[in-house]
């Protein structure tokens, strides 16, 4: 089977200060597809984007796998990584004002990756720069302009031209239209959609505006506190979110003409959590309008929430008839890394974990595809473990969960390599829990 263009497995990122910015994210994307990642500042979405190309500052702990065409970016040698950046995958950064060099002409900035990666002659690179500018809707003569001579929308077009310079297969767009006017935003989104369709690119688009993502992307993942809390087909998630946070995000931007939103702006009380001190249990529970008593102590795994959809909320009804088999199918799309936290050991032992039984602390880890099993014996789900226990187990599972799939051999090797470091991450991320 052809590997997905991008397959992120159980990615975790911890900054040197101990802030767990991404905590077990798994995503997959095929060529020609558009995946939206929604969430507010501090939820880890930009960290995730940077981690995909290993652009994080030194000292940051990154575990899991980022498979680009089946090859793990996190395990690449430096030279290979340099080749993959720009040519394999490129990023359109947030805030074109700050991402362009103010003292170089934009044409030279676009030509730089062309010169470095394809070994083109300066004349060929200039020609390519002109083509790229025209592709993004700017006259080729604008290559001679400095960034301050361009408007915000034009600068964003230059950023996109730069990202396309080496014909990447994957483009990661981090808030490509934030701070742009509605009309310019519409122009840029249309341009991105055209380019993706023409060139069969994969697109990961990051934004806090669910409406924009739902309009542009095929699938949507909503992140909160470093984890995916809901994912599914973009329109379904936007129109009928299953997770209360997804619902709050989609209500934040009103549909004009909707009488329910008139004189009734909807927000969410409280502030996004600090990644260095996450609340125990479900990280969303302090702001959740429908939280149960148990939410304060039990972490919630992603679970099936309809066809092609998953949400990490205790209130999500597991569809009838979702047996272990069906669940495993869904689990293959994204492995919920941390869901073993509240899996009682008995359930774990009955699970399909026999192949991994030899590994340490298999009880916690094997629950990794437990969202399905939670459906099978749902009664076991709301068992109250001690909060500390739940977090510790969950994190161990998150760190080691990669092995639960153990699909490519290389990947398995990487996972085991990181396994030793996992307990450290546990104590760090669990530090905030009482």
């Amino acid at each position: 089977m052809k590997p997905s263009l991008l397959d992120v497995r159980n990615l975790e990122v911890t900054y040197p200060g101990g802030a767990a910015a991404v905590r077990g994210v798994s995503l997959a994307l095929d060529a020609g597809q558009k995946l939206g990642i929604a969430g507010e500042s501090g939820c880890g979405k930009s960290t995730l984007a940077l981690a995909l190309l290993r652009l994080l500052p030194p000292g940051t702990r990154v575990t899991g796998e980022v498979l680009l065409d089946g090859e793990d970016v996190l395990a690449m040698k430096w030279g290979r990584l340099r080749a993959v950046r720009w040519a394999g995958a490129s990023i359109v950064f947030q805030g074109a004002m700050h991402s362009l060099n103010a003292v170089h002409r934009v044409g030279d900035q676009i030509a730089e990756p062309v010169l470095l990666h394809s070994g083109a002659t300066p004349a060929a690179a200039r020609k390519r720069t002109g083509e790229l500018l025209e592709q993004v809707g700017l006259p080729a003569a604008r290559a001679a302009a400095y960034p301050h001579e361009l408007s915000g929308g034009q600068r964003q077009r230059v950023m996109i031209a730069m990202a396309l310079a080496c014909d990447p297969r994957l483009v990661i767009a981090d808030e490509p239209t934030t701070a742009l006017d509605v009309m310019v935003q519409a122009q840029i989104l249309r341009l991105i959609e055209e380019l993706v369709a023409e060139q069969e690119l994969g697109l990961v688009m990051i934004s806090h505006d669910l409406a924009v993502l739902a309009d542009t992307c095929d699938r949507l993942a909503v992140m909160y506190a470093g984890r995916v809390v809901e994912e599914g087909p973009a329109r379904d998630v936007y129109e009928d979110a299953r997770h209360p946070y997804g619902r709050a995000l989609s209500a934040a931007f009103p549909r004009i003409g909707d009488p329910a939103a008139r004189f009734a702006p909807r927000g969410l009380p409280g502030d996004p959590p600090d990644p260095a001190g996450l609340p125990p249990g479900c990280t969303f529970h302090p702001r959740c309008p429908v939280a149960l008593d148990t939410c304060g102590s039990q972490d919630q795994p992603l679970r099936d929430a309809g066809p092609g959809r998953r949400a990490a909320c205790v209130r999500v009804e597991v569809p009838v008839g979702a047996g272990p088999g069906a669940g495993a199918g869904a689990g293959a799309w994204e492995r919920p890394g941390t869901d073993a936290g509240q899996m009682p050991p008995s359930a774990v032992l009955t699970a399909d974990g026999s192949t991994r039984a030899g590994r340490d602390d298999g009880s916690a880890r094997v629950g990794a595809d437990g969202s399905a099993r939670a459906g099978a014996d749902g009664s076991a789900l709301p068992r109250t473990d001690g909060p500390a226990q739940a977090v510790a187990d969950g994190s161990v599972c998150a760190a080691a969960g990669g092995s639960a799939r153990a699909v490519p051999d290389a990947g398995a090797a990487v996972v085991s390599e990181y396994e030793d470091g996992a307990p450290a991450a546990v104590s760090e991320s669990g530090g905030g829990t009482p």
């Binding site: 310019v184 009103p254 939103a261």
Partner: protein, 345 residues
């Protein structure tokens, strides 16, 4: 259709006298190196009545921020006048100081508009100190913080801006504007730099202040959803002029000006085919002749205007400044021609 519950005194007939009013307001900045002057605000009539929330929407560079600043006396006007509570704005320093006690500005970026070395208490008390507030400063600051949703206020007194979240910072900025109990606030993009989930909370706060204190507000924004959320009236600005104004329900659900239509059509949830205008608004130092929107107008480009017999007028004939009244008004030759024909037929 438009029977949405309305708060406070906004629409009770007959309309009360405007609190703040701009008449034929022009603001021009001198051009550099002999370039023609930049006509940032080029003839605007606008009224804001007590307890009314008006949204001023438009793209960046359309002059909406300059208009807001000139209404507060922060930018000298070139011609036209601003009146507040019936009397023209006096630009003498002492008079401006007392005016600013009654009309306050809330800036866009709360991180940039708070002094990082002032505590929350100092930030909010600054206005009281400038105006030599006679009462108890501590009570006033606590009251303003509580009204802005920071409760209990004492817990926030000694915090510094970096210890607050973005939403809390914006609440501090709003508390600083509220502490002098103004009658009007001008909020320039009050939620543009805030997270989606916090945005609704701040907008709800503005609505609550209107209900509880009868506060009037001019909200400057490029976000049409914001206007739908909280505003009574909306004024759409393009290149220094208001091109369409009226009740929010009217303007946003049945837009008439081609520019307003295009703006609404590109919103993610909009029905119908999006009209993506090409290019960007022209330079305000070279305002096109005729209708200032004609170079980008989809109605003119499609030949629709020519069929209505107004294509020449669009290119050559300038439109009058829209009045400040509450009814829906549109500065467009094509819309006028259609309306005239409908009236005659």
């Amino acid at each position: 259709m438009t029977a949405t519950p309305r708060a406070a005194s906004a629409a009770s007939p007959p309309a009360p006298a405007p609190l703040l009013s701009a008449q034929q307001l022009h603001v021009a900045f001198p051009g550099r190196h002999g370039a023609p002057p930049v006509r940032a605000v080029d003839g605007v009539d606008l009224d804001i009545r007590p307890g009314e929330i008006v949204a001023l929407v438009g793209e960046s560079g359309c002059g909406k921020t300059t208009l807001a600043r000139s209404l507060l006396g922060l930018v000298p006007t070139s011609s036209g006048r601003v009146t507040f509570a019936g009397s023209p704005l006096d630009y003498a320093p002492r008079a401006l100081k007392s005016y600013r006690r009654r009309a306050q500005l809330v800036l866009q970026d709360p991180s940039g508009s708070l002094n990082p070395r002032h505590t929350v208490y100092d930030a909010v008390a600054e206005g009281l100190r400038i105006h030599r507030y006679p009462g108890d400063e501590r009570t006033a600051v606590a009251g303003a913080l509580a009204r802005a949703g920071l409760r209990p206020p004492e817990r926030f007194f000694l915090r510094y801006p970096h210890q607050l979240s973005g939403g809390q910072r914006q609440r501090v900025v709003i508390a600083g504007a509220l502490v002098l109990e103004p009658e009007l606030v001008v909020a320039d993009e009050p939620v543009a730099s805030l997270d989606a989930s916090v945005r609704g909370e701040i907008l709800a706060l503005l609505l609550r202040l209107r209900t509880e204190l009868g506060l009037a507000a001019l909200v400057v924004t490029h976000d049409l959803g914001l206007a739908w959320n909280i505003a009574d009236r909306v004024a759409v600005m393009y290149l220094g002029r208001i091109v369409e104004t009226g009740e929010v329900e009217q303007v946003l659900t049945a837009p008439r000006h081609p520019y307003t239509r295009a703006l609404l059509s590109v919103l993610p949830e909009a029905p119908g085919e999006p009209v993506v205008l090409t290019g960007e608004p022209p330079d305000p130092s070279r305002v096109p002749s005729g209708c200032r929107f004609h170079a980008r107008c989809q109605v003119l480009a499609s030949g629709e205007a020519a069929r209505a017999g107004v294509a020449d007028a669009c290119r050559t004939e300038e439109l009058p400044v829209l009045g400040a009244g509450t009814g829906t008004q549109v500065a467009c030759h094509w819309v006028r021609a259609k309306a005239a024909r409908a009236g005659a037929g």
